[in-house]
C-alpha cells in the first residue's frame, strides 16, 4: 500500500517551524532508543484482537524516531477503551476524564513548551462529550497531536452508538437502528479551522507511522483520525477498506501535489471537478469536457478543496480518502501566549523581583500612616 512520505506542501516554500522545536533532544551520542523503552510495565487490558493494540505498537515503535528524551513526552487521554493508552507508554501521562483531554493538554502545552504533548481520544470522547474542547483546541492551534481512535461505537460502556455510528446501525441503545446523523471527523476538524487533518487506519502500520511522523512534525494542533476496529461491539466497521480484494478500489490515497486517484493500476480513476463544482471520479483517459483534474494541495490556505475531499467519504465507503487532507502553517496559540508573557517580562527588565512585587501591591495610590 502506498504511504505518504512527507508532509510538506506542494508550494513547499519556506521551512515551517517544527512541532518539536523547543523540546530538548537526546544527546547526539546517546544510545538509540528502542520500542521497549517506551513500553511501560503495565499489563495491556484491551480485548483480544482490538485495533488499539496495533496503534499502540505503532506508536511505541515510532516514538524513538522523534529523538526526544522520554521525560519530554506527555500523553493525555480522556475516558474510553482508547483512553487507557497512556498507561502503556513509559512517558509522562495523564488519564483524565471524559472528553476533557484537549483542555488539560492545552494547559500543559501552553505552560510547558519543552513538552511534546499528545492527546489520545475516542469518537465518543472527542466528538460527543468533548466536542466543544476539540473544536476549540483546533481553532486555537495549540501545539499538540490528537489521535482520535474512531471505532464508530462506545467501546468502554459496552456498545452504544456514538456520534460517528452510521444511520441505521444497530447497537445496544439503538435496537431498531440509529436515527442519529453521524459526524465526519475530518469535515468537522476542517470546519473548526484545523491546520493539520489526516486519516489513517489501525491495520496499516506503515501509513499510520508516516502520518504520526507528519503530525508530530506539524507545529499546531494535528488531528489524526484513526479507523480502529472494535471486534467486540462493532466488528468489521472498516472491513470494506481492509479487505485486500476491495481496498484498492475504495481507498483514495491523498498524495500531496498529485492528482487524486483511486483504483488498481489497470482501472485507475481520477478525481475531476466538473464545471459547476461537482466532483467525480472518471477514467484517466476519458476526461469530460471542461473537467479539471483535482491535484491534491494539503498546503492550500483555503480549506474548501480539503473539505470537498472529506465529503467523498460516504457510509457505503465507496471512496475513502486516507492521508493528509490539510497541513498549513499558522501561528500557534501557545507560542502567542508565551510570546506575550515573555515580552512583558523582558520589557519590564527581567523576571519580577521582590521590589517589582512590592510595587504591584502598592498600586498607584497609597498613603502612609505614622
Amino acid at each position: 500500500m502506498t504511504t505518504i512520505d512527507h508532509p510538506t506542501t506542494s508550494n513547499g516554500a519556506a521551512a515551517r517551524p517544527s512541532g518539536l522545536a523547543g523540546i530538548p533532544l537526546l544527546a547526539p551520542d546517546a544510545p538509540a532508543q528502542t520500542k521497549k523503552e517506551f513500553t511501560s510495565d503495565q499489563e495491556v487490558r484491551w480485548c483480544p484482537g482490538c485495533g488499539d493494540y496495533a496503534i499502540l505498537a505503532a506508536v511505541q515503535s515510532f516514538l524513538p524516531e522523534l529523538g526526544l528524551k522520554r521525560e519530554n513526552i506527555t500523553f493525555v487521554s480522556g475516558i474510553g477503551c482508547s483512553s487507557r493508552f497512556p498507561y502503556y507508554l513509559d512517558t509522562y501521562g495523564m488519564h483524565s476524564i471524559h472528553g476533557r483531554a484537549p483542555a488539560i493538554a492545552t494547559g500543559l502545552a501552553t505552560s510547558r513548551p519543552d513538552q511534546n504533548v499528545w492527546v489520545v481520544t475516542g469518537d465518543g470522547d472527542a466528538l460527543s462529550i468533548g466536542g466543544n474542547h476539540l473544536i476549540h483546541a483546533l481553532r486555537r492551534n495549540v501545539n499538540m497531536t490528537i489521535l482520535l481512535f474512531n471505532n464508530e461505537i462506545y467501546g468502554l460502556t459496552k456498545g452504544q452508538y456514538s456520534p460517528t455510528s452510521r444511520v441505521g446501525q444497530v447497537t445496544k441503545s439503538s435496537p431498531l437502528g440509529s436515527v442519529d446523523q453521524p459526524f465526519n471527523p475530518v469535515s468537522l476538524a476542517l470546519g473548526a479551522e484545523a491546520t493539520f487533518v489526516a486519516r489513517t487506519m489501525d491495520s496499516d502500520r506503515k501509513h499510520l507511522t508516516a502520518i504520526l511522523r507528519a503530525a508530530a512534525e506539524h507545529r499546531g494542533t494535528s488531528l489524526v483520525e484513526i479507523y480502529q476496529n472494535c471486534p467486540i461491539f462493532n466488528d468489521g466497521a472498516f472491513e470494506l477498506i481492509k479487505d485486500r480484494t476491495q481496498q484498492e478500489a475504495r481507498i483514495v490515497h491523498l498524495l500531496d501535489g498529485e492528482p487524486v486517484q483511486v483504483g488498481p493500476e489497470d482501472d485507475r480513476k481520477t478525481l475531476v471537478r466538473m464545471p459547476g463544482g461537482r466532483q467525480e471520479f472518471v477514467a484517466a483517459d476519458s476526461l469530460p469536457e471542461g473537467a479539471e483534474v483535482v491535484v491534491h494541495d494539503a498546503g492550500a490556505e483555503d480549506p474548501s478543496q480539503a473539505f470537498a475531499l472529506s465529503r467523498l467519504n460516504t457510509p457505503e465507503m465507496t471512496h475513502v480518502p486516507m492521508g493528509i487532507f490539510r497541513s498549513v502553517s499558522r501561528p500557534t496559540y501557545d507560542d502567542g501566549v508565551r510570546a506575550q508573557v515573555r515580552a512583558a517580562v523582558d520589557t519590564a527588565g527581567g523576571p519580577a523581583t521582590d521590589d517589582d512585587l512590592a510595587a504591584l501591591l502598592r498600586g498607584r495610590d497609597t498613603w502612609t500612616v505614622g
Binding site: N72, I97, R100, L108, S111, V345, D356
Partner: protein, 622 residues
C-alpha cells in the same frame, strides 16, 4: 474663602444612586479614592443591576454605590445613608426606604419630569408633594447647571455635556465633605488624555460642582471627618477581586512558580480574570477558555506541568467544574478554585451577594472527595486568603476552594500593604529522583508514596528524567499509583485522602473575642459577614451586654479548637447569607445545637437587624 461654617463629624454614609448609564460606580470610586487619601477608614458597597443598560429611568436600571467613612475603624459599608444622591426619580424611589428620617437627600430635579415620574409610578413629584418633609432635601438642577457650565465647549453635543453631570455631583459632594479633588483630576487626565475637550469638560464640571456648594445658599455648611487612627504602615484602597488577584500573584512569587489561570467570564468573578490578564509581567499566563470545564482543565494541566493552576468563577461555573475538581482530588495535584459567590440557584442574582455555595464546595462532587476551603472575611483579606489557599494547595497537593462573594469582590477598604520580605516562603520541592525499588531492585518512582507527616504525594513534573509516570482518575494502588480495583486499597486510599485534608497543619485556632469574659452567647460567622457581625456585636456591647464573637476563615478543615469553643457557650448563633449551611456542618460535626440566623436578600446583613437578633437571643438566655 468661603464664609460657610465647617462642622466636624465622626462618620458619614453616602449613597450615590442613579441610572446605570449615569456613572454612579465611577463617581463612588472616585469619592472613595479621595476619602482614602484623607486617611479615613472606609468600606464600600457597589450595587448594580445584572443588565448592562436596563431601560433608562426604570427601577431595575438603578445603580448605586455606598461608602461609609469615619475617623475610627469602619466595619461595614453602613446600613443607612446619611446622604442620598438621587440622580432621577427611579433612584429616589429605589433607595428611599433605606434613608432614615433627618438624612440629607440631593435630587437632580432636571430628571423629575412627568414622564420620568410616571415610569416609576409617582403620580406627583415627591419633591413637591410634601412626602419628603422629614428629610433635608436639596433640589439641584444638576443636568442643566452642568450643561450651562459647559456652554463654552462648542465641540460637544448637549448629550456629551449632560454626561458630565456625575462629575458635577462629585464636585459638590467633595466640597461638602472637604475631599481633595487632585486625585480625580489626575485620574480624568489619564482617562481622557486623548480627548482634550472631553477632559476639560469633565474638569470644568467637577469644579462647577465644587463651586456650586461653596456659593449657593442652599448648602449652609461643609463637613470635616478627621483621619482615622490606623496602625502605622503604607495603605491603599483595594477591592476584594483585586486583592485576590494580588494574593495569587504574591503566592506564586513566593513559591517561585508561574501562575496559570484558566477561566471563563462570569459575574462577579470576571474582574479577577481581567486583573490577572494584565499581570503578564509577573509571569502570569491567562487563558480564556471555551467554558468553565475547559478553564479548570487548563489549570489542572498546568499544575501537572508544575505551575500554580488557578480557575476563577462563580457558583454556576463551580457546578460545571465539579468533575474536574474530583479528578484533581484523585490525582492529588495543587489547584486553586476561586468561587466568587452570587445569589443562586441557577443564574440567580448575578450581581448580588450570597454565601450559599458552602455545601457545594464541601460536598458537590461524586464520591468521597474532600477539598479544603478558605473564606476571606473582608475585601483586603482576600489577599491573605489567596495566599493561604496556595500554601495549602502546594504543600498538600490538593485542590483548594477560595469562597469569596459579590460583596467582597466589589467592596473595598483600606489595606495595609504587606512588606514582601515578610511574606512567608512558599517554595516547593519537586520530586527529583526515584523513591523506591522494583522487584529486581532497580530504582523506580512511586508517585503515590506519601510524605509520612503531611500525607502529600510527590509532585514530579514532566521533564524530570527517570520519574516518568502515569496518573489518572481511576483508583490508584497505594504507593505505586498503578490502576487498582482492590477493595481494601480503595478503602485505604479514600481514608488517606480524607486524612490528608483533615490533617492540614498551620490552621490557627479560632480566636474568641469576649471583652467582658462573661458572655454566654457566642456569635460565629464565616466569610464576608465578619464586618456586619463585628459591628452588631460592638453595638450590643456598647449597650452594656456581654456577647462573644468568633469568625471562621477555614471551613475545611475547621480549626482544631472549634468544637471546644462551641461547647463552652450556652448558645451559639450563626448568621449567614444562606439558609443555614454552616450551621448544618457544625451540628453534624460537633453535635452542638447552633442557632442559624439567615438572610438571602442579595445584600450584606444590616448591623441594626443583626444587633436586634443578638439582643433577642440574649433576652431568651436571661
Amino acid at each position: 474663602m468661603s464664609s460657610k461654617t465647617v462642622q466636624k463629624l465622626d462618620r458619614v454614609v453616602i449613597r450615590f444612586a442613579g441610572d446605570s448609564g449615569d456613572g454612579m460606580q465611577l463617581t463612588g470610586d472616585r469619592f472613595t479614592s479621595e476619602t482614602a487619601a484623607m486617611g479615613n477608614d472606609l468600606s464600600t458597597l457597589p450595587n448594580f443591576p445584572a443588565e448592562i443598560r436596563a431601560p433608562q429611568g426604570t427601577l431595575p436600571g438603578v445603580s448605586s454605590f455606598q461608602l461609609h467613612f469615619a475617623d475610627h475603624d469602619v466595619l461595614t459599608p453602613g446600613d443607612a445613608p446619611d446622604v442620598l444622591v438621587a440622580m432621577n426619580p427611579a433612584a429616589l424611589k429605589a433607595n428611599l426606604a433605606d434613608v432614615p428620617r433627618g438624612a440629607t437627600i440631593i435630587v437632580n430635579t432636571d430628571e423629575f419630569s412627568k414622564r420620568n415620574l410616571a415610569k416609576v409610578g409617582y403620580a406627583e413629584s415627591p419633591i413637591d408633594d410634601g412626602s419628603l418633609e422629614s428629610f433635608h432635601v436639596h433640589p439641584v438642577p444638576l443636568t442643566s447647571i452642568t450643561v450651562d457650565a459647559l456652554a463654552a465647549f462648542d465641540g460637544l453635543t448637549r448629550k456629551e455635556k449632560e454626561r458630565a453631570k456625575n462629575m458635577f455631583a462629585l464636585g459638590l459632594l467633595s466640597w461638602m465633605y472637604t475631599r481633595p479633588t487632585t486625585g480625580t483630576e489626575a485620574f480624568l487626565t489619564k482617562k481622557f488624555g486623548a480627548h482634550p475637550e472631553i477632559l476639560e469638560a469633565n474638569l470644568a464640571a467637577l469644579r462647577a460642582g465644587w463651586n456650586y456648594g461653596e456659593t449657593t445658599e442652599d448648602f449652609a455648611s461643609s463637613y470635616e471627618i478627621a483621619p482615622a487612627v490606623m496602625p502605622p504602615g503604607t495603605y491603599r484602597n483595594i477591592t476584594g477581586n483585586t486583592a485576590l488577584a494580588h494574593g495569587l500573584v504574591a503566592a506564586a512569587h513566593q513559591a517561585k512558580l508561574p501562575l496559570v489561570l484558566g477561566s471563563y467570564p462570569i459575574t462577579p468573578a470576571s474582574d479577577i480574570l481581567h486583573a490577572l490578564s494584565a499581570l503578564k509581567r509577573h509571569d502570569v499566563t491567562t487563558i480564556q477558555a471555551e467554558d468553565e470545564i475547559a478553564g479548570i482543565g487548563i489549570a489542572l494541566g498546568a499544575s501537572f506541568g508544575g505551575a500554580i493552576g488557578v480557575t476563577t468563577t462563580s457558583g454556576p461555573g463551580v457546578a460545571l467544574k465539579s468533575e474536574t475538581i474530583g479528578l484533581a482530588v484523585s490525582l492529588e495535584l495543587p489547584l486553586i478554585i476561586v468561587d466568587v459567590q452570587r445569589g443562586g440557584p441557577s443564574t440567580g442574582l448575578p450581581t448580588k451577594t450570597e454565601q450559599a455555595d458552602l455545601l457545594q464546595a464541601m460536598y458537590g462532587r461524586n464520591g468521597e472527595s474532600p477539598v479544603p476551603i478558605v473564606a476571606p472575611s473582608t475585601p483586603a483579606d482576600c489577599f491573605d486568603a489567596a495566599f493561604e489557599a496556595v500554601r495549602i494547595a502546594t504543600a498538600y497537593r490538593t485542590p483548594v476552594f477560595i469562597l469569596s462573594d459579590g460583596y467582597l469582590a466589589n467592596g473595598s477598604e483600606p489595606w495595609a500593604v504587606p512588606e514582601v520580605s515578610e511574606l512567608p516562603d512558599l517554595q516547593v520541592e519537586f520530586a527529583s529522583e526515584p523513591n523506591g525499588v522494583d522487584d529486581k531492585g532497580e530504582p523506580v518512582f512511586h508517585p503515590f508514596l506519601r510524605d509520612p507527616e503531611t500525607l502529600a504525594r510527590p509532585w514530579a513534573v514532566p521533564g524530570t528524567a527517570g520519574l516518568e509516570h502515569r496518573i489518572g482518575g481511576i483508583e490508584k494502588a497505594d504507593v505505586t499509583g498503578n490502576i487498582s480495583y482492590d477493595p481494601d486499597n480503595h478503602d485505604k486510599m479514600t481514608r488517606l485522602r480524607a486524612a490528608k485534608v483533615a490533617g492540614i497543619a498551620g490552621i490557627p485556632d479560632v480566636v474568641v473575642e469576649d471583652p467582658s469574659g462573661e458572655a454566654r452567647l457566642l456569635v460565629l460567622g464565616w466569610g464576608s459577614t465578619q464586618g456586619p457581625i463585628a459591628a452588631a456585636v460592638r453595638a450590643v456591647r456598647n449597650a452594656g451586654h456581654s456577647v462573644a464573637s468568633a469568625h471562621l476563615r477555614h471551613l475545611n478543615p475547621f480549626p482544631a479548637n472549634l468544637g471546644e469553643v462551641l461547647r463552652s457557650y450556652d448558645r451559639v448563633v450563626v448568621p449567614e447569607m444562606n439558609l443555614g449551611q454552616l450551621s448544618m456542618l457544625l451540628r453534624a460535626e460537633f453535635l452542638v445545637d447552633v442557632r442559624p440566623h439567615t438572610s438571602v436578600r442579595g445584600l450584606p446583613f444590616s448591623t441594626v437587624d443583626l444587633a436586634d437578633v443578638i439582643l433577642t437571643h440574649l433576652e431568651e438566655l436571661a
